[in-house]
Symmetry: C2
Subunit: 312 residues, 2 copies
């Protein structure tokens, strides 16, 4: 069976950037992932990728995709179900076996984990039952279904702010509900929220329940708003932050920090030989987690992997 | 006199990216620099900026410039001649005075040094005398003057490889002269060089003299090529690496490493309060020094500066 030099796990900015550099180093590699699965693709508008004043998340991902395709790199759109390390005498080093939902196994001498983050759940009553029935973790994906409706966004981050603004283009009314005060998004986003007449901010408030049968009808709060702890609405968008998608790599015994982010050194290397990580899933880049930091980590890791493959 | 929150020194990718983030944080700032002065603008083609398969260095810089202009940021195209720190009781912190060749002084509460690198000289006989008369440090700037001529490139890096390829589009013959073997450029570049019939590589060879009066006539080597230590040619392009442009910041007592690069921590901060650095001039990003690493460092520094200005 074919053994690649490198398999990149994840097709977001970190994985894509690593692939560009790997191609330039002529590292025989593939990417396993879905470009529309990550947090960039789910962003309404990206305005901080240098050179693009304002671009849809999906459009930016398509640009990245065109670039890697130009090198002829194989992007395999399958879900990874298992990653296992295996001793391999022939190569004098361990080999990684990546199993996918397609019942296929891909093998490589090194891997780059660029799986990003997943949304954090609120873990409240009704959240799971009403998912897809008014509860959503993706304003960009589902926003257009709420034309002339009333919706709420939970969170205080840039993502929450962006989701509120995006939803205000469809919905009649948007509540932005944040458990603290002030919002923790960038000042430019706070300004835009405050200028937007469709958006009402509820500070120091938690959503405690989502109510409705088959469709969201209302939410319950821990603080009164307009003399009531209940708000009638049609949709609830949860933007309560993110957690690293590191469950798949647990078996590899890769070191993670207290928040679950993979610990990398300045090379992008983890504690396991041949295992590198880049992008939002790591503790790198001072925790900033932006597209610009992801592409940088991808390039640094690919360069380290090139040296690793050559030396061994 | 107006005191800015931040002055960004340098208008390359690091400075530009920092400016985008500074604008989003609503940090009152300016940039002092020239977008056509840095190593990106002098690159023939950029093929590793994710999303752009192949773009001229100047075109990429124009895209970056359009982005910062969209925020209304003031880019001051003047040469910096002096940077001085001054005690300022009013602000409870030191203030930086930046003098330019235009006899102006700009003041700010923090600075970001993003001045990049400059080309390294060979320091050989004739190099200085024949500069602009056949000797050049910029193939992109001067290459077109050598149509149907014979030229040599000194160096083994990606820049040297790119310069050789670019020059082969104009010149009849290009010698690529490198003091070691093999070339230290990316494998994809080595392939392209070897496929190019106009380019001849001379390994393990140093150029010791540039000869000619008013115009370059020939160069002298320390090893024979084709039974001679002299090669007749019309142009010599020196691509012998780069050195950090840190001379301006010496007076600030910013710590630099043995190679002269500014030492930053994971915040992008230097040892001097209020002084941050980003991009090729720093020891960050594992020494990779690419556009992707520069924009990442710029974003990280701007974020740290935002916190610094708020806290103090």
């Amino acid at each position: 069976m074919n053994i690649y030099d490198l398999i990149i796990l994840g097709a977001g900015p970190a994985g894509m950037s690593a692939s560009i550099y790997a191609s330039r180093y002529k590292i025989n590699h593939i990417i396993i992932g879905n470009i529309f699965d990550g947090s960039v693709a789910k962003a309404h508008l990206i305005e901080n990728w240098l050179g693009e004043k304002s671009i849809k998340g999906t459009d930016l991902m398509m640009k990245f995709n065109d670039h890697i395709k130009d090198f002829g790199t194989n992007l395999i759109v399958e879900d990874i179900v298992e990653i296992k390390e295996e001793e391999n005498v022939e190569f004098g080093r361990n080999v990684f076996n990546i199993k996918t939902n397609n019942n296929k196994t891909y093998r490589s001498k090194s891997i780059l984990i660029a799986l990003g983050t997943k949304h954090r759940k609120l873990n409240i009553f009704g959240e799971e039952e009403l998912l897809g029935k008014g509860v959503s973790y993706c304003a960009v994906c589902d926003g257009a279904f709420f034309k002339n409706k009333i919706v709420a966004v939970v969170g205080g981050s840039n993502s929450a702010a962006m989701a509120s603004i995006m939803l205000s283009e469809h919905a009649d009314k948007v509540y932005l509900i944040y458990r603290k005060k002030p919002l923790r998004c960038e000042p430019i986003m706070t300004d835009r929220i405050k200028e937007n007449k469709k958006i009402t901010i509820l500070y120091n408030t938690n959503v405690t329940k989502v109510l409705g049968e088959n469709r969201v009808k209302s939410i319950e709060l821990d603080n009164e708003y307009d003399s009531s702890k209940e708000i009638k609405l049609d949709g609830l968008f949860i933007e309560a932050g993110s957690v690293p998608s590191a469950s798949l790599v647990k078996e590899l015994n890769v070191n993670v920090n207290d928040s679950g982010y993979i610990i990398i050194n300045s090379n992008g290397a983890t504690n396991i030989e041949g295992v590198y990580a880049a992008g939002d899933i790591t503790n790198g880049s001072n925790g900033l987690r932006q597209i610009v930091t992801a592409v940088s980590e991808g390039a640094i890791s690919a360069t380290s992997i090139y040296k690793y493959l050559k030396e061994k």
